[in-house]
């Protein structure tokens, strides 16, 4: 293993320590990741986690951090813990100086005139941004196959999906192309890719991370969160991006808890951990179920009390989600009309009216899944249908919130598999939207209730040797509990599997070459 290969496999926390100790420079680290991206991301069978690589700016920020460190003094003292640690950003989050496409043709080549709040916070922390990661168009999908720029491949098996919509961020981290990434989670888009790529992903409490600058799919469900290889790394990143933002009215006023401390002092002794009856068993792959049961056993051994809770209304969550999400999306995506920015397509025939230009632009600029959801949402909000669809879905949402309240009265943290299956083959579910939607059955309830969720790797499924995700859920504003429990489970699982799960992933460069040779 080359020196660089050792460097890129370090956790963000370990990199931060080495940087602080002067054992390595940020330019070296950043260049190592850029090299890795160049080695494994491109080509017909590359991972294709990135839509844009931000080489120059990333190296400039890295050099700035190195210069500050080298100069020493107060400025060096004041550097953020993660200063100089590179990061990848999902291409749904706007950035000055790099294109933002949302995975859509309609925004091809568009440059945002402003930075998302989370991006500002990354810049304040002086974290070099490696580039923008692939996603299902406007974050609509569970496989990243709906990207207008081609799918991302799962580093565990290049013929399989990396999950979605944040497949790019998860694959980048799993393929050691970045130590950290930002994702967005509307129905599971951080956690489900985390599960199928063997990485950690956190959907924070709704309102605890600013949404300003995340291109909205469903405003009441969207949340930005961290993607990483370890629980502690997610906590470190969460701490950077979280906290109140006056630009987001739904942003919570409370100061962020010390999530890093929670991850460092993990403890489950005496904690009650609730299995959600409705979120395992039937419909879940046997290998997923086995790994899930194993995690329960480990937690019990560590002193947790395992209880069973029932959330009877979760069975309506997927249906309600597919009314609320498309309703909000149909309105959020109305702004993409070719009038002010992005793609503009003129109709082939006269007359050249504004309606026809908008129509031609949207017809050419949006992919099928986006159109499907816009049509669904437009229908659900229509006069005469609103009460039956949007109205009923909101009532279901309230019932799901009550289920969570009741469950959290019995347990400190809830647990379930993150996704019902391991990574499926590229193309397998592309023409079966309902099968695709079912991937999110276990992750959607958290978005509907606004509670935080964390997915961490729970081992490999017996039948296919692919990663399985374990989901932890906590009450709103209790994100620290996820890190406290997640850190314990992570270390127990590592002991069980003899090291980080990603160590068992195939050697990617070799795998790309052999497969390309085939």
């Amino acid at each position: 293993m080359t020196e660089n290969n050792v460097l890129i496999r370090l956790s963000a926390a370990a990199l931060a320590e080495k940087l602080a100790a002067g054992e390595v420079t940020s330019v070296e680290v950043t260049q190592a990741y850029l090299d890795r991206i160049a080695a494994v991301d491109g080509g017909p069978r590359g991972v294709h986690a990135f839509l844009h690589v931000n080489t120059e700016e990333a190296l400039a920020v890295a050099a700035e951090v190195d210069a500050i460190r080298a100069a020493g003094g107060a400025a060096a003292e004041e550097l953020h813990e993660l200063a100089g640690v590179p990061i990848a950003v999902k291409d749904l989050i706007v950035t000055v100086g790099q294109p933002t496409t949302a995975g859509s043709k309609i925004l091809e080549g568009w440059h945002s005139p402003y930075d998302a709040t989370v991006v500002k916070r990354l810049r304040d922390a002086k974290m070099p941004i490696l580039g923008k990661t692939n996603l299902d168009e406007f974050a609509m999908g569970s496989s990243t196959e709906h990207s207008a720029y081609g799918p991302t491949r799962n580093p565990w098996d290049l013929d399989r999906i990396p999950g979605g919509s944040g497949g790019g961020s998860a694959a980048a981290v799993a393929a050691f192309e970045a130590p950290l990434a930002l994702g967005t989670d509307t129905g599971g888009s951080i956690r489900q890719p985390g599960a199928v790529t063997g990485t950690v992903g956190v959907k924070p409490t709704y309102g605890s991370v600013s949404r300003y600058g995340a291109i909205a799919m469903a405003s009441s469900l969207d949340q930005i969160g961290p993607v990483s290889r370890t629980v502690l790394d997610s906590a470190l990143l969460h701490q950077v991006i979280g906290g109140h933002d006056p630009h987001d009215s739904t942003s919570l006023p409370d100061p962020l808890e010390d999530l890093v401390a929670a991850a460092r002092t993990g403890n489950v002794d005496g904690m009650k951990i609730g299995i959600i009856k409705e979120l395992h068993g039937e419909g879940y792959q046997a290998g997923v179920e086995n790994r899930f049961n194993e995690s329960l056993e480990l937690l019990k051994q560590a002193g947790a009390e395992i209880v069973e809770v029932s959330c009877p209304n979760f069975k309506y969550a997927l249906g309600a989600y597919y009314l609320i999400m498309p309703s909000e999306a149909s309105s959020n995506l109305a702004k993409f009309d070719g009038v002010r920015y992005g793609l503009r397509v003129l109709p082939k025939d006269a007359p050249l009216t504004i309606e026809r230009v908008m129509g031609a632009t949207r017809a050419a600029g949006f992919g099928d899944e986006v159109k499907r959801r816009i049509i669904l949402g437009t229908y659900a909000l229509s006069a005469g249908y609103y009460d039956a669809y949007y109205g009923s879905a909101q009532k279901v949402r309230t019932l799901i919130q009550r289920d969570f309240e009741a469950a959290f009265a019995q347990a400190d943290v809830l647990i379930s598999p993150t996704a019902p299956t391991t990574a499926f083959k590229l193309g397998e579910k592309l023409n079966d939207p309902l099968a695709m939607y079912l991937n999110d059955v276990a992750t959607i309830p958290a978005n509907m209730a606004g509670v935080p969720g964390l997915s961490l790797p729970g081992g490999l499924a017996d039948e296919d040797g692919l990663p399985v995700g374990i989901q932890l859920l906590a009450p709103a504003r209790q994100d620290a509990r996820l890190y406290r429990v997640g850190a314990v489970l992570e270390s127990l699982l590592e002991a069980q599997w003899g090291g980080p799960l990603l160590d068992r992933a195939p050697e990617l460069a070799a795998s790309i070459e052999t497969q390309e040779a085939k």
Binding site: A214, I215, S249, T250, S330, Y341, I354, E355, Y386
Partner: protein, 502 residues
């Protein structure tokens, strides 16, 4: 432009009973916009008062302007409304290039203020209660200018220019309940209602309230029903009627037009109408049905607005004197008779008189100028008196010149015309036009002697004590001096010449 048939107003009133309804949009004069930190300023270079939020850039989020909420609550309180303890914004979805997000953020089923009323005093002192359904908050759209094609309409235009400076300016929309029972006074009530709303928001200081700038915009709904029928007729909605006189005229015109349609046995079409000031008529706009589907749903990017009772009461305590009470006070202060004061109010110059008094004129002088000179000129120019642009200082200056005997009233009127024509300040115009009362008694005495000599009989009558005969001599002297003499001084000199005590 096709012209619609109309019935005379009198005939329309004989046959039908009008029902009115108003939607008045008030632009708030907050420093920044409803949901963004961009400046809310009128008249700047296009697309300069915009940021990423106003342009609907990807990823942006709205933040509610707290001052706009306060202003809305104040308007609600001044309209005797209830203030909702919590209320929400909704999205009104429609595609149109003046709306950057392709939805307007507006209150829908949860207005901040509801169930109010406004007592409107008509010219003869009758008080008519207009009930307010709701006052809700929303954001203004950008401004489209359609180039090429006909009549500045989007249909047939070659291209359109968009100015998003107005996009996101806070608006309060005040909606009345159906106004019934106004009868033939409907047009007058319409004007008085909009005037009252304008007066209230101006008095509250929450809007610049300039109708010519679109700060206050009125959509007037009119329908007719045969006398005695309960059910309302089909209404038309005349959009953006933007002066008080136009409100009156538009309502009158629509009543006449509806009456002609109903008389012909045809149904009235539910539609929007455009008001044309030049022809004083409306033309058909867009067919509008109640089924227009805006797919409203609660705005998920904003949290509900909570108006605690304490906050509402704090705001209530800051409200200025209501206009009706203010009128009572001003009438008492100025010492006008009921009739004089009502004339002032109906002429729409109460604020102007108050400002003129504040600038140093007496109540009598201010009224004399506004009612005697300016109102008539406004009528001739077909504008509201305030729109003529006469400054209170101008009146004070003119009046000082008259009182000092530098010019007489006739000259002062001429100077006023000069001011209105933009020729300069009163002093400059007096100078330029060579207007000055002849104050050297020498030339006057010559003229007086000539006049007395020409009319010896009159001179005798004056000597004999018939002082009212003096007018003939004064007139002759004024004629001889081409009006440049001070008539008061002329009178004094005649009496002196004839040795008569005045």
């Amino acid at each position: 432009m096709s012209t619609d048939a109309t019935l005379s107003f009198e005939e329309a009133m004989e046959k039908y009973d009008p029902v009115l309804g108003f939607e008045v949009h008030v632009e708030l004069n907050t420093k920044t916009k409803m949901f963004s930190s961009a400046p809310n300023v009128f008249g700047d270079e296009p697309n300069t008062n915009v940021n990423e939020v106003d342009l609907g850039m990807p990823g942006v989020l709205p933040v509610v302007n707290k001052t706009a909420i306060e202003s809305s609550i104040k308007i609600g309180l001044a309209l005797n409304c209830k203030i909702a303890e919590t209320c929400r914004f909704a999205r009104k979805n429609y595609f149109y290039p003046d709306t950057p997000k392709n939805f307007q953020t507006s209150q829908y089923d949860e207005p901040i203020a509801y169930d109010g009323y406004l007592d409107i005093e008509l010219s003869d002192g009758t008080v008519f209660r207009v009930e307010i359904e709701r006052a809700h908050m929303e954001e203004d759209a950008g401004k489209l200018t359609h180039m090429g094609g006909s009549a500045g309409r989007i249909q047939g235009a070659d291209y359109s220019l968009v100015d998003y400076n107005r996009s996101g300016v806070p608006l309060v929309e005040i909606v009345t309940k159906p106004i019934q029972g106004a009868g033939s006074r409907a047009p007058e009530l319409a004007k008085a209602y909009v005037a009252a709303v304008r007066e209230i928001v101006k008095n509250l200081g929450v809007s610049d309230a300039k109708m010519e700038r679109g700060n206050v915009r009125c959509d007037a709904n009119v329908s007719l029903r045969p006398h005695g029928r309960e059910r309302f007729g089909i209404r038309s909605e005349t959009k953006n009627v933007n002066s008080l006189r136009a409100v009156e005229h538009a309502v009158r015109y629509e009543i006449q037009r509806h009456a002609a349609v109903l008389d012909s046995g045809e149904p009235v079409i539910q539609e929007t109408r455009h008001w044309h000031e030049d022809t004083r008529s409306t033309t058909s706009g867009r067919a509008k049905s109640d089924a227009d589907d805006y797919r409203y749903f609660p705005e998920p990017d904003l949290v509900p607005i909570v108006a605690s009772r304490e906050w509402v009461e704090e705001l209530r305590a800051t409200l200025p004197e209501p206009p009706a009470e203010r009128r009572k006070r001003l009438q008492a202060d100025w010492g006008y008779s009921d009739l004089e004061f009502r004339d002032v109010v109906n002429a729409g110059v109460m604020d102007e008189i108050e400002e003129t008094i504040a600038a140093g004129a007496t109540a009598t002088v201010a009224r004399k100028w506004w009612m005697g000179e300016i109102v008539g000129r406004a009528k001739n120019a077909d504008v509201d008196p305030g729109q003529l642009g006469v400054k209170p200082e101008t009146i004070v200056e003119l009046n000082k010149m008259v009182e000092a005997g530098k010019i007489n009233n006739k000259m002062a009127a001429e100077v006023l015309d000069g001011v209105l024509a933009g020729e300069g300040t009163p002093a400059e115009i007096v100078e330029k036009r060579g207007l000055a009362v002849v104050s050297d008694d020498g030339p006057l005495l010559e003229a007086i002697d000539a006049a007395l000599a020409a009319q010896p009989g009159v001179a005798d009558k004056i000597r004999g004590g018939k002082l009212q005969a003096i007018g003939a001599i004064v007139g002759a002297v004024m004629k001889a001096t081409r009006g440049q003499a001070d008539a008061g001084r002329v009178k004094e000199l005649i009496l002196e010449r004839l040795g008569v005590e005045g």
